[in-house]
Structures are given as C-alpha cells and as structure tokens.
Amino acid sequence: MSQARNLVLIAVGLAILAIMPLFLSANLMNAVIKMMIAALFALAFTLAMGQAGMLSFGHAAYYGLGAFAALHLMRAVEMKLFFFPTPLVPIAGAAIGFLFGAVFGWLATQRTGVYFAMVTLALAELLFTLAPTWNSVFGGESGISTMRGASWGLSFGSDSHVYYLTLAWFVISAWCMWAFTKSPLGRLALALRDNEHRVRFLGFNTHVARTLIFAISCLFTGVAGALLAIANEATNYTIFSAQASANVVLQTFIGGAGTFFGPALGAATMTFFARVTSDLTRSWLLYQGLIFVLIMLFAPEGLGGIVSLHARKLRPGGWRHLLLPYLLCLVAALPLIGGLVFVVESIHVIMTDAYFAKRAAAGGAWVAYQLFGHTFEPLGPTTWAIPITLLGVGSLLLPMARRVTAAAWLLATQDQPPPSPRAMLSLQHPSRS
C-alpha cells in the first residue's frame, strides 16, 4: 500500500532530521536550516502555483515582509517593550504574509495567467524600490538586525535551538499545507488550475477564492521569511529582489510542481548545492539556470516528477533493466558537465581583476592561469583540447545513451496490458482543449 509506504518514508525522514544536529558541524547545521527554510518557501509558493495555477514572479515580497515583521517583533522584545516568546515569532510572519497576500492578491487576481505573473512581479519590485528609502521600517540600505531572545527555558543562542525551532515550524507548516490540499478549498484550487472559467459557472466567486488561496500561500511564505530572520538575526531590502523571487521559481520547477514534495526536494537540493559550491565557483547561479532550462526542455515534470514516474510506472523488478542504461547516461553526462564547467570556470578566472593585473604586468600577453589546482595556458593546445574532447565525447555518447535508456524503459515498465476488445470498441475522441 503506497500510503503506508509514504508514511514510513516520512517518519524515517523526520527521524533523520531530528537526530542530525548531533552529528553535524555548526556550518552544516546552518546549511540544513537554510535548506528547510527554502523548502518551506517552495512549498508555500507551490500552493498558489502548482495547485491553483497562479504563477507568481514576486513571491519574495511576502518572504521579505515576513522577515521584517519577525525582526521588528524580536527587536521590541530585545528592547523590553513587551515579552513575546521567540518560538512563536513566526506567527508575526504568518500574519503579515496573510495580510499583504490578501491585499496584493486581491489586486493581482483581477487578472489571470501571464498578466497575473507580471503584476506580482511589479508589486515585488515596488517593495524593492520603496524599501531602501523607508528607513524606519526597512532600515534603509543596511537593514535591520537584532538578537534572539531567550524563551521557554532555552537561550536560542546556539544553532541547535534554532535548528529545532525551524524543524518544528517546517513540519507544522508542511502538514498544514498538506491538509489544505484535502480541504474543499484545496480541491477548488485544483479546479481553478484546470479550468478557472468553468468554476465561475458552477457558482463560485473565483476572485474571492483565488485571493484567499493566494493569501494562504503568502501566509506560509511569511513564516519562511520569519524563520530566516530568526536564523540570521538580520535582513535588508535585498530580500525583496527579483533574484530571490526568481530563485524560488527555479527551485520549485526543478523539483517539479506536480507533486507535493517535489518543490521541497528541488529547493533543498539546489540550496545545498549552492552552499557546497560557493567555495568552488561563483557561477552557481548560471548552473542553476542551465539545470532549470534543461529540465523545462526535457523533463518538464521536474525531479519529483521523475521520481514519481518511476514509482508509478515501474513494474516490480523492472529497475534491473534500468541500472546499466542509467550508468551509460551518467558516463555520457559527466564529460559534458566536465567540459562545460571547465569552460565556464576558465572564463571566470580570465575575467577576474587579478588575472587582468597579471596580464598587464606581462605586457598584455596571455599568461597562464590557475584552475582546480592546475596551470593552463590560455592559448595552449591542451587548454583547448580538454573541453573539446570532453564535450565531443559526451555529445557522441548522448544519443546512444538515450536510445538504450528508451529501450530499457519499455522493458522496465512493460506499459499497460493491451486494451480489452470492449475498450477498443468504445469511441475515443481527443477532446482535451
């Protein structure tokens, strides 16, 4: 039974998350905290998008507002204006997120589709341009900072306290959003995604419904923002940037908006890679964009969709057929990735000021540069041979890998049994508009 299996998986996942702090360094623990926050952000984003079909390009607005609300609350506590327990601070994020989600949502949901997306973008940009000028609320260019206050016997000075706080809110929020999908409003959201026009003629005021759904999405986005503020104890106006909004969109679709946990998976994975590669490269965003475009082109259901596809379609024991083909795909993909990374990183090094200075010192000549611990001559034959060979090998192997995988896939899934004679007689019309 897949439901039992899912519950077991979730329980195991939660258990792992719960005991992780015992084994992680402070740095890694911080990374997992950020991954959970990103996952929550993505889940909240998907509530509006994947479910109700409302593609929001400006969701960072509510993320940032949640963060600022939390910071102001914590500041008030810090200045002893009144007491408010730190673990409940995300409520402020939720409230502000819901409020602005309702107001902005009311405006934005007057339009649908691409119009809606653009309006949400413009609203976020409005905040982004307004924030640095409004010092009292947003702290101008440098932002606001504060300290976490002690509550409920915990000091919240250490990362592990923050970790468990984040984990608790993540679990609660995720559960709430999952319960939402089972509620009448949640089902209505799916109907709105499929065919908003029709919903109107079934007696629903779709404007009100979409506003409410959007506001709920922004509520949980606000919680994510508040958790970020608690973790970082500071934020500034750059949290409203188009970059931040873009990130959640990319991460969600890489993970796949079609499943419930797809977005969380995408966000957590991408956040993880961003942190891990931040020492190795400054072009991570480029790689993330490339991954996104490749997924959009070739795997539109995202990583989560791929996982779910396997879970749904593979017949028992079918995975055996796929082991070797996937290995072949890996063998084809690695040189391509290697070649690309080599080119990108080389360009990066060559374009730095340090290299420019070296060139100037050598009278303009193309001096050697350092990459991955080796030295390369920009105009030397090896330097060009490496990427060319890698890309060449990869390109040659790729079509073969695709063919082999496609064949293996047929074997592994042994698609639906041939239709019964009765079913074949019933008239099938392609009537999806």
Binding site: A179, F180, K182, S183, P184, L185, G186, R187, L188, L190, A191, R193, D194, N195, H197, R198, V199, R200, F201, L202, G203, F204, N205, T206, V208, A209, L212, I216, S426, L427, Q428, H429, S431, R432, S433
Partner: protein, 264 residues
C-alpha cells in the same frame, strides 16, 4: 433540497408560468450587432429547444443569459428577477446553470471530484478550510447519487481527461446538473456524438431533467423534435418563429432559413 421542486411550490409557479424571459435583448461587439432584439419566453417545466443556422448567435445568447457577456440593451429575467449584468456565479446561485459546447471539465481531476466541486458549493463549502473534503457526508452522498444517475459508476475514479468523448459530454452536462438548477441551459449536448451515443444521451437527458426547465441549443433535428415541446428559431440574431414543434416545422420562414439543411 431539489431547488426545482422548491421553485415549483412558490406562489404563482403554475406549470406554464415564465421562468426565463428575454425582452428585446441586444448585444453588439463594437460595430457588429450579433443579437438584434430577441424576445423569448421559457415556461416552467418546458423543454425548450433553440435552433438556427450557424452564426445565428445561439452561443452568444447563452453567454448573455449565463452572465459571460453583458447585454448591450434589453432585459433578462429569471423568475421575475433581472439577472442581466450579474456575474456568472451570481446567476448560477439564483438557479440557472449551463453546459458548454466544447467540453469544459477539469481534466486532471477524477469524475467524482469534478462532480463534487459542482455540489459542494450548495452545501456552503465553497471556501471551507478546516475539514477534509472526505468527511463531508452530505456532499459525498450526493456525488454518489448523481454518478449513478449519470451511469458513470465505472469511471468514478478515472481522470476526466481520460474519459471517452461521449462520457465527457455526459460529465459536462452532469456538472451543470449537479448545481441543482431550476433552469438548465444545454449547449449542443450531442455535438460530435454518433447516432447510438446521441440516442443514449437524449434518453439520459430526459430522465435526469425531470421537473426542471430545459433550454437546449441543438443542430440535430431528430433530437430537437424528440426532446422538446417548444422550439424557437434564431436567425441573424432575431427569433423568427417560436411555438410547438409541428407548427415551427411547417413555418415558411423557418423552411427558407434552413434551405439546404438536411431535415432528418
């Protein structure tokens, strides 16, 4: 509660009282006049067919009545109340429902879910958040009931997008029906169906619309003459004839308008 029965028990609601009235209705898009002064009366319990050549404006008329378009002038009265200019959801809540010529279901949801959306509004669960939809007994019982009526039991959990075309047409109609309207507008319910499927669906329509008022747009003349007890003919945005089937059939103007049309 069946709203049709409730409406029928209202004072003055004798079988034969007008439930839907169009008075001098016009609609223009820019310079182009599509509906040029339509008068139409649909009486309670009638099975009223609206026929006419292509481009006469039948779909536009439906769009006007159901609230998708706002009339340029004229009146639309439902149970004596004016509904012209109201948004579609308000009109639906007043007891008028329509189906669509192009199948308009929720393809990625199951048949049962499609119908559940149509039903839950009436039970006050439009924006309900804090209860799982599976726990709404009254709603789910009604869903089961209508699935039986529509004879879609086998396909209950299949995605609407995966249904055969004829089944989708039935579901399409079923969704409008599920909102329990006093007046049901069906826009070419048999469009694209074979002869056997058409006969089947007409029989189904007859059964499930007992006690309701029906306004149907149809091209298939055999369906029209089997199903309806009143026919109105729309040509170039005007009603040129309205009355019992035999009379309309014999009307010279109607025959001219249909010159070249094959009458089954």
């Amino acid at each position: 509660m069946n709203r049709a029965i409730a409406a029928a028990s209202m004072p003055g609601a004798l079988s034969g009282a007008p439930v839907l009235e169009l008075r001098n209705l016009t609609k223009s898009f820019g310079e182009t006049e599509i509906i040029r002064g339509v008068d139409l009366v649909v009486k309670r319990g009638q099975r009223h067919a609206l026929i006419g050549p292509n481009g006469a404006g039948k779909s536009t008329l439906f769009n006007l009545i159901s609230g998708h378009y706002v009339p340029s002038s004229g009146e639309i009265l439902l149970n004596g109340e004016t509904i012209a200019g109201l948004p579609p959801h308000a009109i639906n809540r007043r007891g008028l429902s329509r189906s669509f010529q192009i199948t308009n279901v929720f393809p990625r949801m199951s048949v049962a879910e499609n119908l559940r959306i149509s039903i839950m509004g009436r039970h006050g669960h439009r924006l309900t958040l804090f209860r799982p939809v599976a726990s709404l007994k009254a709603v789910n019982d009604e869903v089961d009931g209508i699935i039986d009526k529509l004879r879609l039991g086998r396909r209950r959990n299949d995605l609407a997008g995966d249904l055969a075309y004829s089944e989708q047409r039935i579901l399409e109609m079923g969704m409008s029906l599920a909102t329990d309207p006093a007046v049901l507008l069906l826009d070419e319910p048999t469009a694209g169906l074979s002869r056997e499927e058409t006969a089947y669906i007409v029989e189904l329509i007859r059964q499930v619309t007992e006690g309701r008022t029906l306004l149907v747009v149809e091209h298939d003349m055999s369906v029209v003459f089997t199903l309806s007890d009143q026919i109105s003919v729309l040509v170039y945005g005007e009603v040129i004839a309205s009355g019992e089937p035999a009379g309309v059939r014999a009307d010279k103007k109607v025959q001219e308008a249909y010159l070249g049309e094959e009458v089954h």
